[in-house]
């Protein structure tokens, strides 16, 4: 591959990653494309990406082949291997000849069985915190040049921004939906209390007790029962009848 084509490829990979920062894409799809591009650019044959989840566990997000899945899985299962090492230390790990490596025998024999003889693990960091690793595998036993390692790290850094951004957005969306739900529920409940209080000449607290009893007896959420009351789909007489029955 000549230098110009390679530079163009690198730029294109940056653009692909950067686009995901603004557009709404499926994160797993984006990561898959990203790892494929990275492997291509640094002339590796397969790759995978693991990210830490909310519970603090590493999860395999994507991989370019079944053989790569196998290599990630064996490391996640044993909590040992170059990717795990990279995740723990936050430093890139390179193995130029897996067949002669003394470290992680379990992983190394799997790798050789699957036809891989060298690898590069790149940390994905946010403000110094490692959120995952990108792992690239090659059939030939061959040292990764420092330039290739730097390019892979730069690409991983851009992807990390995208992942962080997407996670923050998702979290914000969850909180916003919870808020919307909570506001709507609360408003419906207060309205229903008013309807019941007026219809039965009760105070608000007693109206609430009746509303809650009704919702429980009928296996309705408090919000659902409240909305039925405030929309006058059920009458207060109906609520009283249900309450005195139970």
């Amino acid at each position: 591959m000549d230098g110009t084509t390679r530079e163009a490829q690198i730029s294109a990979a940056f653009v692909t990653v950067a686009e995901t920062l603004t557009a709404e894409h499926d994160m797993v799809d984006v990561l898959h494309t990203f790892v494929e591009r990275c492997a291509e650019i640094v002339r590796m044959d397969a790759g995978g990406l693991v990210l830490v989840d909310d519970a603090g566990d590493l999860q395999l997000m994507t991989s370019t082949s079944e053989a790569a899945v196998m290599l990630e899985s064996v490391q996640l299962a044993d909590a040992a291997g170059p990717c795990i090492e990279c995740f723990r230390t936050g430093e890139a790990v390179a193995i130029n000849d897996i067949s002669t490596s003394a470290a992680w025998p379990e992983f190394c024999s799997t790798a050789v069985d699957q036809g891989f003889n060298s690898l590069l693990s790149i940390p994905m960091k946010v403000h110094g915190r490692v959120i995952g690793t990108m792992n690239l595998f090659r059939a030939a036993s061959e040292a990764v040049s420092s330039r290739d390692a730097a390019v892979a790290q730069a690409l991983a850094d851009v992807a990390t921004i995208g992942i962080t951004h997407e996670r923050a957005l998702h979290q914000a969306q969850v909180v916003e939906e919870q808020l919307q739900n909570a506001l709507n529920s609360r408003i419906a409940i207060e309205q229903a209390k008013g309807v019941i209080a007026n219809g039965l000449s009760l105070n608000m607290d007693d109206a609430f007790v009746l509303l809650r009893k009704y919702s429980r007896d009928c296996n309705l959420t408090l919000r659902a029962a409240s909305e039925m009351v405030s929309r006058r789909e059920i009458t207060v007489q109906h609520i009283v009848a249900a309450a005195t029955r139970g």
Partner: protein
């Protein structure tokens, strides 16, 4: 964070997450840093449901309530435009887009009003409202400081509003009206008295407050305490 509203409501609501009374802790940095008189932070949804997170005094409380009562004002505009709304001097302002609020604010002695959207992820979830009793220059520094402070409090404001809405009896007062429970209770009473839908009942409440020139919270309290009754025959 996952919260099952059902679980919270069905557990003992009296002891469920009751937020501390809204104080001005989220508001005070705005007042000091930006040198403004009134600060109010409200979470408002697309339907105009409003939960007041904090106000730093009576003026800010009244301005916040006015926007809720009238359904118009700079906060709503900041919400729909997703950008800051800046009126350095209401006495000199024309075509604000909210004439009734403008007059009401001027009667309270307010000159400058500024609303900054509270942005959480992709969503605008409310506004930070600033007011001054003298004309106030909104230069680039003022705007960028205020917006960045608004961004910083967005999550805390939403979390506060979330807890306030989930508690069955969170404390509310003139200075920390939160969700205005009595307004929604009064709406329920009007639904029952006049046989109206909830939006229509709320509109009647709003109209009554507007026509009598009283704060909607006061009218709601009179309805809840049965001092005021809407009679289907005379109404």
């Amino acid at each position: 964070m996952t919260i099952s509203l059902k679980a919270i409501m069905l557990s003992n609501p009296e002891v469920s997450a009751t937020p501390a009374p809204a104080d001005d802790c989220l508001c005070s940095p705005f007042a000091t840093t930006l040198n403004v008189t009134g600060v109010a932070i409200s979470v408002i949804d697309e339907y105009g449901n409003q939960s007041t997170v904090c106000v730093n005094g009576r003026l800010a409380a009244r301005l916040d309530a006015l926007q809720f009562e009238l359904g118009e004002g700079p906060a709503r505009q900041a919400l729909s435009s997703r950008s800051p709304v800046l009126w350095p001097d209401l006495d000199q302002a024309s075509e604000t887009g909210w004439p009734v609020f403008q007059n009401a604010a001027r009667e309270l002695g307010v000159r400058g009003v500024f609303s900054f959207p509270l942005v959480l992820g992709n969503a605008v979830v409310g506004a930070v409202n600033l007011s001054t009793t003298t004309p106030h220059v909104a230069d680039a520094d003022f705007v960028s400081n205020a917006q960045s402070m608004a961004n910083d409090v967005a999550l805390a404001a939403v979390e506060w509003a979330l807890r306030a809405a989930q508690g069955h009896s969170s404390p509310e007062s003139e200075q920390s009206p939160a969700l205005r429970r009595e307004v929604h209770q009064a709406t329920g009473i009007i639904i029952s008295q006049l046989g109206l839908s909830a939006p229509d009942a709320f509109a009647r409440l709003q109209a009554h407050a507007f026509s009598t020139g009283r704060p909607i919270d006061d009218v709601a309290r009179d309805i809840v305490t049965r001092v005021l009754e809407f009679d289907p025959v005379t109404e």
